[in-house]
Symmetry: D2
Subunit: 360 residues, 4 copies
């Protein structure tokens, strides 16, 4: 029962990589929001496979269909089911996988936990499941309104872009296939990814994300802190190994007097901050400053280089990945990071409605 995220804006995803399809049900989306399939498709297109030379060649249009919860272009306040059929499933590719445990894949863990797994394309553990999250995130964005949620690829392996002060625009991020807004760095990343693929290897990296426009007050201490929910959201994305907000791990090398963020007043007399080492949260609650976080992705475990592994009967075999896959998941993970961030913002926005007694 771990396929649900959110407390009031509640998303359940379902589906296996090579089954009938994948989808989500959103329970708790308020009524009267404008919503149509094009709103969702726009985001799905950024995640879909086969976009360009550095992604998997599985040919999925990822065309979504709204099955419920919307009437004449507006949300009804009832559950919204969005379905994405699997079109290009080639199950034959996966017969060998059923008989062994791929290193650093979920095969062994699913067998241990459930005593059964769908081996076709990784089944439920496939990153294909994240398409359903992107669909749900598109609905979340309808709710949160004027937020600017922007993620980009900051590093691939050791190739890292310079730090930016200004949050990149969607156009800047999407200007290159690798979704790194610094063009020279993006070119180097792209070449490096192509080289890794040609060598049968894969790469990881870091995605940076910012949320601009959140009011102060979101987050539910002591456990459901804004950054705690965000960390959970990010670590629930396949292949992630780390999360940091604001100064993160680097901030552990500052002193308190360096790290503390003094308050100041903006031109309208509003409270603002001179620095933002906090990354937009104080005591688990948004401060009104930009939420700023980074997510670490490991190199894709599917590689075509030969590896040694065990069969399900514990015999040693050699094996090389043959399915279609991405040599580096980061470019396609950018919209997934944004979607999960949007879902957290939507849920926290709704939860915050009951914070103050006077407003009820």
């Amino acid at each position: 029962m771990g396929n649900q995220f959110g407390h009031l804006f509640r998303v359940v995803t379902f589906g296996e990589s090579h089954g009938v399809g994948i989808g989500c049900v959103i329970d708790g989306c308020p009524s009267l929001l404008p919503l149509c399939e094009a709103d969702i498709q726009k985001d799905l297109d950024r995640r879909k496979p086969g976009q360009n030379a550095i992604t998997t060649q599985r040919a999925e249009s990822d065309t979504c269909k709204i099955l419920s919860g919307v009437y004449r272009g507006k949300t009804l306040g009832t559950p919204i089911c969005i379905f994405i059929p699997n079109a290009d499933a080639r199950s034959g590719d996966y017969d060998e996988i059923a008989k062994l445990w791929r290193p650093s894949h979920a095969d062994f863990a699913y067998d241990s936990k459930y005593g059964i797994r769908d081996p076709r394309g990784g089944g439920r553990s496939s990153a294909r499941e994240t398409a359903a999250r992107v669909a749900a995130g598109a609905v979340a964005k309808k709710l949160t309104g004027n937020l600017n949620i922007r993620a980009w690829v900051e590093s691939v392996h050791a190739i890292s872009m310079p730090t930016v002060r200004q949050t990149p625009t969607l156009e800047e991020v999407d200007a290159t296939p690798v979704r790194c807004p610094d063009i020279p760095t993006a070119r180097r990343m792209e070449e490096f990814i192509k080289k890794a693929r040609s060598e049968g290897d894969s790469l990881g990296g870091v995605i940076h994300c910012r949320i601009e426009g959140l009011p102060a007050g979101l987050g539910e201490p002591v456990f459901d802190r804004f950054e705690a929910e965000l960390a959970k959201a990010m670590l629930s994305i396949p292949a992630t190994k780390g999360f940091e907000i604001g100064s993160g791990f680097a901030g552990t090398c500052m002193t308190g007097s360096q790290h503390n963020d003094p308050f100041c007043l903006d031109e309208n007399g509003g409270v603002c901050f001179v620095k933002n080492h906090a990354g937009g949260v104080l005591g688990g609650i948004t401060s009104g400053a930009t939420v700023d976080f980074r997510v670490a992705f490991k190199p894709t475990p599917t590689i075509s280089k030969e590896q040694h592994t065990l069969t399900i009967t514990k015999e040693s075999v050699s094996f090389s990945g043959k399915g279609r896959h991405d040599p580096c998941v980061l470019p396609r993970a950018v919209p997934v990071v944004e979607a999960m961030a949007a879902i957290v913002c939507a849920d926290m926005t709704l939860r915050n409605l009951s914070a103050k007694g006077k407003e009820i």
Copy 2:
């Protein structure tokens, strides 16, 4: 309603730093576990203030009392309430704080969210709340049995201990006040903390934690992955800014062929791993390998150096922290990290009971 953690082993904490006391209620602890106050006190004593020269001098014995759920030394399966009175609350110290927002503290955020806050010792946002987590964690450990959950201070500011292969023992960790098991490093850390205090400043650092003995199969994908719940648990601890598991951020600079963890067989024919870049999880589920993670703590925001800030009426003032506080929270955060890890393990153990249909 964010003061609850866990799905089946469910912990609610309550209490403000200078109110009557703090505590927790655990709903969902199975029956028949041996439990007494000494089991809990042992862990509380590791977190309590005033232990030594590098912690706050607030004199709290943190003596706990079990109010319910235990009969003749055994858990009843009913809610366990544990209460820890506040003894040395000096509310007079905090009059000034009520009128301003301390930089990088929760004051402004609580005012924004709730329109009211208890300024005495930070009220609910005080790290004193974590004593209730330590109490709950002690109960969780009774449930999880033979696990070895061990945290230690790996770095303070830029002072970092060498990497260890062997997990340190409790005795090794507690050998120095700073809870770094490498004695020479611990000495340097201690001196550095004393220096920071004397300068009215504060320090952050990194806590490393390992969980040994977990079976394969814990974790509930796709959202409630083991590492996602762990990340949430850690980021819910005050002053944390980052989390990484296994290879973490450093792993983003490896290739897939370097990063993948091949399977092997141990002397008993059991499945094991040559390396553990995964940090003990595959696809959101424990693999049976050691769970290995790190948590970043920012420098304590309370410093006695003079700072500029805003009053609640947005006037500029200068201010310096006068309450009793820790110049570096890491030594006392070690049992908190362990407690939250234990709660995640307990909850995931119970949730996993319903994974396989055949066993029901």
Copy 3:
């Protein structure tokens, strides 16, 4: 966010009466259970419209499709999505309804709550939604195994069957269209329903249900008592107005010495009960005796007799129901009552796995 039922065996339903279709997602169903569409279809066929002369003539085959969570005939432990397309939706029938509030229907309440509603066939408030519950119930029965969950129509209006000691069989219940196992009473009910329809009126009644084979120990006091969850489950079915378990309202006229159920021993030395005024629960936990409860259904609010009502602009109008509908919902509600009972049993069975510490 009220479209979810169950804590570990968690069902979310979605869909409007005249939208694309309706369905459910079950998150938390254990792996390795045999499941195919025929298992589900069997139950759906008992609920589907147009079965006979006393039900609505809407022609829906209610053919279900499993979209996820099953591989080679077995559950994977991943979310199971079941979809039932709407085939015979005649939206044109409902133009008038969009402009007024039908008496004792949900129209006014949905407008008040959401500021929008799908008027086609009642939209989300249609009893058509219960088909998704029947589908989920069929899966729940796979989990609970050898239970006998049997509901039947005990009364329609003032026509009531004699009390039975023996629980009727499925064949006895389904022997007549009205699903009352006492044939003479069933004939009278059927005639009375036809008469009500011919007069443009409708009828209510009582459904009786028994669950045989539950072990002692299910139920989670103090709030999630077995009977409390059952009451919620039943009162969540459209048109229900009452629930009683065991002696129910009649039992309030007994004395304690009459009402108490003495223990006895069965032939195998097992604990049993001389009487069962309790209806199978003690202190919110099943006792091992048969769970026995009754549910009151109001007469269908849709009648073709002329009624006076208000338009959405609060003008008085006269109106008569013209859509296809049931003059008495009870015969088709029988499988819905059974399905909700099965879901409660499945959820409580899973929750009980963590009651005792020794078994973990």
Copy 4:
């Protein structure tokens, strides 16, 4: 983990009848509500034992203490813990009970489920636990504001008061020890209760409750309907066997044309209803009409008449109840019914804040 009620206004209760004490934690109460112990004590005094000649003579003042969540007379938005010590616990009375299963008590069920129970005064299964609910209900009333939630004893055994059109006042209800507002009926009930006690027997009855002042729109279909949550709340109270809303079981004998509630307009042009067979709910959502429901309570299982039962080793013994107890729980259950109704209203009020998108 069934000791929690509510989704946003979340109440956890804890404590055994003869342990240190009982209490509750409320997580999710909005900030800025005025609250002090006297607000709570007022309600607790209506439930406390030893009030008069027809209640148990256990001498508990049920004096409550707020341990957290309130500062200078206002709620902080943080968890509110309320504690009620057990003062007059006589554990010696209960040695015999530890060795047998009292008929129609929870003893056998707790032993079956948990393999352990606290036999002193029924432990967790004691109705004493409901004091914690009354405390939580008092806080809920602070949130819901101007509602009139009024319960009263409508019948004891076969003695029933005439139906009232006007909801009785608190003073009318509390005018007699039996809490039946019809004085002549109350006198007869009181005599009958005394007679039952003198005979070593006990009585049940029906409590009627009305909620006036709720706006239209509360309730979360399809599962968390207002009446479904109310049914669960009521059936979670010890000794309850039935719930009905509006026309209830009697309404099953009406036709649709009789049962339907036509809309009308009040003097201010607001929507109202000519009748209220619905009992204030339409499609699971409040309609703005008075919520009207009834709850059946079985006769107290504790009687001093001799009974035959089984020991925990399954030997036959005779036994008669000797602990202090109520011959009829209804008078003291009146504030418990009101408290649970208040908690449902508070929770549903908060949940409804996110129904409409335009208001966010």
